[in-house]
Symmetry: C2
């Protein structure tokens, strides 16, 4: 692999450039890209030009650089996340029509939950999730469901901490988290009142594939008003529907 | 930029590797990746290993390689496509509930329409669109709307052909396409009966941003049964709603 004087490969530098863009700052000048990616401006300029040539980055009329639509296309069209999301989408829409507020689909990635989809209603309760956003496993209802069904090694690593506190209700004691995970496996769902934000309750259930493996968490974020448990049955039904869609052959016209 | 003996840069080769995956074949062995990307197996192996290390590719348990969830995350979280899609999503859901079949959101990319979103009903009429899929501008209703509002240079390039025929109804004569584009600009929508598939009618309207620029096409694909025109008003209303969402400040809780 070709490396610069720092010993870093071209690909590593290109990935670092792609990583500097955020939902809050989707377009940046090259000098700022260089600063954030810890690259010389000349190096950053060269890489930005090449990435732009491939359509992975694009230039705004004002010269600022943003993620290109070609990167989105490459990532999306053959992504396993897409088939899961497509199978889940009709059920997410139905749940959203019934539950209101936020419904979302998350998968385990590293030591976090990564949200593939979120449908939100205007005026819904506060929610820190965003599409392609992440939350830690111990605090979010989706994360707790995914962690409860994850491998022992990941569970022990998360239990070893640190378990960041978001509110007074966040579970930060390893023994309490361990027993919560056992409860989730036994009950088949989790309800967390105010663990990420005081005003919000998260309810999550596992989504399984044909083999019974947990591949995602389906969740609703609703007001923390003591009525969260009323959404458990409809979430469980949605998760079963997604499982059926995942195992059914794809229709040509679908 | 570091280059191999063929004069190609590492980034160009990496992009070629990302391009070999398709919705039909999302996971491939390294030898097949090398063949499709026209790379030596050793070169492909090295690049696949590095891309996997960055999470842009991932390995299946059987050793085959697929697009990694990290690529999707990088592409999605700071993509301008995301903000357009997020603004459009509630309106797409409403339209889908009312129109049924397929509703979709497409943007101009190069000389094609790229579909950012599609919602489909079970048993809906045949449709060649898929999310992150493309169709040529002259044949699809979304494409015709986008072409009608594109720059003169692009219009002339597309009119110069070739204009591929999909069905007997596809517009393949440049002068007919030119007058269709003028009609679309005057009427504010297009309805194409059986231009991509005999059984399907596409109806599309432009989506404008705050400045009045056409940034996307909103479309419905319904049966070719002579009733397509009944969907025009609801599509026009949806496009106006998306425009309002695009110009409204994002809420913190949304």
């Amino acid at each position: 692999m070709a490396r610069g004087s720092s010993g870093e490969s071209v690909l590593t530098r290109a990935v670092r450039i792609l990583e500097v863009f955020t939902p809050e700052e989707p377009a940046l000048p090259v000098t700022e890209i260089a600063r954030r990616a810890s690259l010389h401006v000349a190096t950053a300029s060269r890489l930005v030009a090449e990435l732009t040539g491939h359509g992975l980055l694009a230039r705004e009329p004002d010269g600022r650089v943003r993620i290109g639509v070609r990167l989105w296309e490459l990532a999306f069209r053959a992504s396993p996340a897409l088939s899961l999301r497509e199978a889940a989408m009709p059920f997410l829409e139905d749940l959203h029509a019934i539950v209101g507020h936020h419904v979302q689909l998350g998968v385990l990635d590293g030591e976090e939950v990564l949200f593939l989809e979120r449908l939100s209603a205007p005026g819904a309760v506060i929610n820190y999730t965003r599409i392609a956003g992440r939350l830690p496993l111990h605090a979010s209802s989706s994360g707790v469901v995914l962690l409860a069904h994850a491998g022992r090694e990941l569970q022990e690593r998360v239990l070893a901490g640190p378990l960041t506190r978001y509110t007074a209700a966040t579970v930060t004691a390893p023994d309490r988290l361990r027993s919560l995970l056992a409860d989730v496996r036994r009950q088949g769902f989790v309800q967390l009142n105010g663990h990420v934000h005081e005003e919000a309750t998260g309810i999550a259930v596992p989504v399984r594939d044909a083999k019974g493996e947990v591949v995602a968490a389906l969740s609703a974020i609703v007001p923390n008003d003591g009525q969260g448990h009323t959404r458990v049955p409809v979430l469980l039904a949605g998760a079963r529907g997604i499982r059926r869609s995942l195992t059914a052959p794809r229709s040509l016209t679908g």
